[in-house]
């Protein structure tokens, strides 16, 4: 994210409402749309260091889970065997 370049000196170093903010940031990252979420997000990231750090760590966690968790390939015969059993039961 381009917010990475913002110098941290501009942000406040403690968050007055961590629970509410972090919950909100996590919901946004999980794709839960809420009114004005983008504006709220921009504001938090620009002004609050704990929110900024939390957001980027949470985002990194989600990214590696999405991109690096290996998929187990489905055994080739599974679909055929399911269809076979269903045919027998018909």
């Amino acid at each position: 994210m381009d917010d990475n370049s913002t110098p941290s000196g501009d942000r406040k170093l403690s968050c007055s409402d961590v629970s509410k903010c972090f919950q909100l940031l996590e919901s946004i990252l999980d794709g839960e749309n809420m009114p004005n979420s983008q504006e709220i997000l921009n504001e938090k990231l620009a002004k609050c260091e704990p929110c900024f750090k939390h957001f980027h760590l949470e985002q990194a966690i989600r990214d590696v889970l999405k991109t690096k968790c290996t998929k187990q390939s489905v055994p080739s015969e599974l679909e055929a065997s399911i269809r076979e059993i269903i045919q027998e039961k018909k």
């Binding site: 972090f22 919950q23 889970l65 968790c69 679909e79 269903i86 039961k89």
Partner: protein
Amino acid sequence: MSEVQRKKYSEQEKSKIFDQEFMPNIDSMYNFAYRLTFDEDDAKDLVQDTYLKAFRFINSFEQGTNAKAWLFRILKNSFINDYRKKSKQPAKIDYQEVETYYNSDDVDYASTTDLRVDAVKDMLGDEISNALNSLAVDFRTVIILCDLEGFTYEEMAKILDIPIGTVRSRLHRARNLLKDKLRSYASTMGYSTDEEE
């Protein structure tokens, strides 16, 4: 059956739903089953059982609704009702404690972690996978559903039969536990885990 009887599908309609809406989800279903059981044969059985149930109860599937979520719910229930019983694993797994904790407002959002973003980005797939697999099944499940399968909170609530608030807090807790695991990997990799450069 307490369920409201929906219209019956014709044989042709059943086949169409099965082929076009159910079967395309087999990859995700198998992955979910494998991450629940850690065993190829068990995962196969679980997926097969899920598809047989899905076919048997196909009349209670409403076309136009999310087939993947419907199938995941069946798979999750089969896992809890059949597999866990068979495997003699303690089905309780401090579930009560978990629920009590989560339904309270005590979710600790304030807990900070010194895990660094760079360290997370450099993790290998196996390390991420192992960390995920080491979580208790209820925590593992929410991460799989949300991050690997992309379900919304609302869909997850339906799949797991829990309120949305519980989905949110369980997910938060699950990711914190995952971060703890990743932090210990990070320190063995030689990453500094404190905030100093």
